[in-house]
């Protein structure tokens, strides 16, 4: 819709300011109307600007008077509990945005670590290449994943005991397909690892077709 991002600051240019005011005022009133109608609630808007001598009142003076008088009857506590001005409102928005940002950062860190973990397991990278300061967090991520794996193993073992096999048993040698984790340097080159791995998964795919069909889309 908008082509440029507007800088959220007082518009110095008088003509631009006036036209922006007209447009946005229209938009605010439209939104207020939608809110009132969709939710069936009393609402009024009063705007003072340099462009009008008298305050602009919406929806009408009558309605506004009604809303305001009802507002006046409320206790100070009730009135001010949800009352905001620019400062408080912006501060609230900042707090919310900061929390959301922190959550995403944490999530991203975990995803990154998971990717690196899988890369280490498949031989794409080596533990030595990881930034040393990240190692502790990395251990934590591995531990968490390990917990999930162990938990899942327990569940499956319990199922096996209680009934006949509920899960399809994988046809072939699966663990031999997965590259074994080695420490530090490797005489097997990067090329070789990937080549071997792709070869084996190709072999595997042929024999475990039914497994593929069961795969959910993430």
């Amino acid at each position: 819709m908008t082509r440029q991002k507007v800088k959220m600051a007082f518009i110095e240019n008088e003509t631009a300011r006036k036209s922006t005011f007209k447009k946005r005022k229209k938009g605010v009133l439209k939104k207020a109307h939608e809110l009132g109608t969709l939710c069936g609630v009393p609402i009024c808007v009063i705007i003072n600007s340099a462009y009008e001598q008298n305050p602009e009142v919406w929806p009408s003076r009558e309605t506004a008077n009604q809303v305001v008088s009802q507002w006046k009857t409320m206790s100070v506590m009730d009135k001010t509990k949800k009352m905001v001005n620019q400062e408080t409102f912006l501060q609230q928005r900042i707090t919310k945005a900061t929390e959301s940002w922190k959550k995403f950062r944490k999530e991203n860190k975990e995803l990154e670590m998971k990717n690196v973990m899988f890369d280490c397991l498949s031989g794409k990278t080596m533990v030595s290449r990881i930034e040393k300061t990240e190692l502790r967090d990395f251990v934590y991520v591995i531990e968490q994943y390990l917990k999930d794996v162990i938990h899942r193993i327990e569940i499956l073992k319990r199922n096996e005991e209680s009934s006949t096999a509920l899960v399809p048993v994988a046809a072939t040698t699966t663990s031999s397909v997965m590259p074994v984790v080695e420490m530090g340097s490797s005489s097997v080159g990067f090329y070789d690892r990937i080549r071997d791995q792709i070869q084996s998964t190709l072999n595997m795919k042929q024999t475990t077709k039914d497994l593929d069909l069961n795969k959910k889309q993430w």
């Binding site: 005022k25 939710c39 912006l90 973990m117 251990v139 663990s175």
Partner: protein
């Protein structure tokens, strides 16, 4: 447009739209310098209001039909200016945080894409745990445990090696460079490193990992033989002998049986490390690099 039927949806809608309305009003005030008051009652009979400069003053003016103040006293002008600048600061701060949030979200999407891409390669162990079979899980568990061991060892080496920084107290250890020189870039976070690796994947050169003989604390992760130039401190490391080093600094280069003596010998030799401009020993053989 009519009132919504579903009660709970109505509540949610009210909450979201009210917030959006206040946001639009806030922008109107900032951009155009207008005053505004909005009063709205919620479905639950609570009252919400937004006002600039504040709800009460705008409402009073409306009720009393007061004309706008034609000329304000200096005091009011000053305080208003101050308030405006506070609001401006808040707006700037908000814009900044929203920008950070935006880029973090983009990063999230990109990371998800990378996962999809690697999934396509057919690494079954990257699938959700719930989709794996028991034998797969057993093998996977073994590998994870191995990986964990490797990482733990690496981590302990690193944190062990950094302790002497604290004890020795000089900045000379910075010249030692507690790393093995094989990082793509120290300053890149994991995400960027990985991206670079994706890009550089087929340019990867084994030989890039070269020994760093400047490590004094025996970080022999790659089995470097530092030719006895640097002792294997891992075994001998104890806080007491660090003090011994200081004491023994002026001793002769004697090859005594006492291991501590040996270390002080090394300490004298490595006095050149005190120069922070390079992390490599001053006289080393050319085939170290």
């Amino acid at each position: 447009m009519v009132k919504m039927k579903n009660e709970s949806n109505l509540q949610v809608t009210f909450s979201k739209r009210r917030s959006g309305l206040f946001k639009k009003a806030s922008e109107l005030c900032t951009l155009c310098g207008a005053e505004i008051a909005i009063v709205v009652f919620s479905p639950g009979r609570k009252v919400f209001s937004f006002g600039h400069p504040n709800v009460e003053s705008v409402i009073d003016r409306f009720l009393n039909n007061n004309p706008p103040l034609p000329h304000q006293h200096n005091n009011m002008q000053l305080s208003e200016t101050r308030r405006n600048s506070i609001v401006q600061d808040l707006n700037n701060h908000l814009t900044q945080v929203l920008g950070q949030l935006e880029s973090e979200k983009k990063k999230y999407d990109e990371l998800k894409k990378i996962r999809e891409k690697t999934k396509a390669l057919g690494n079954w162990w990257e699938d959700p745990v719930e989709e794996l079979t028991l034998p797969q899980l057993d093998g996977f568990k073994g590998n994870l445990e191995n990986l964990k061991k490797v990482v733990t060892v690496e981590a302990s080496k690193f944190f062990q090696a950094t302790v002497p920084n604290f004890y020795v107290g000089s900045s000379s250890n910075a010249a030692f460079g507690i790393d093995d020189g094989s990082h793509l870039n120290h300053d890149l976070d994991l995400f960027s490193q990985r991206r670079m690796m994706d890009i550089n994947a087929f340019n990867y050169n084994q030989n890039q990992i070269h020994p760093n003989p400047a490590l004094p604390f025996g970080n022999n992760a790659f089995g470097h033989i530092n030719d006895g130039f640097v002792p294997n401190y891992n075994i001998n490391y104890r806080p007491e002998y660090i003090q011994n080093q200081y004491q023994n600094q002026n001793q002769n280069q004697s090859q005594s049986q006492n291991q501590n003596q040996n270390l002080s010998f090394k300490r004298e030799n490595i006095s050149e490390y005190e120069h922070p401009h390079h992390g490599y020993p001053p006289h080393s053989r050319s085939d170290y690099y």
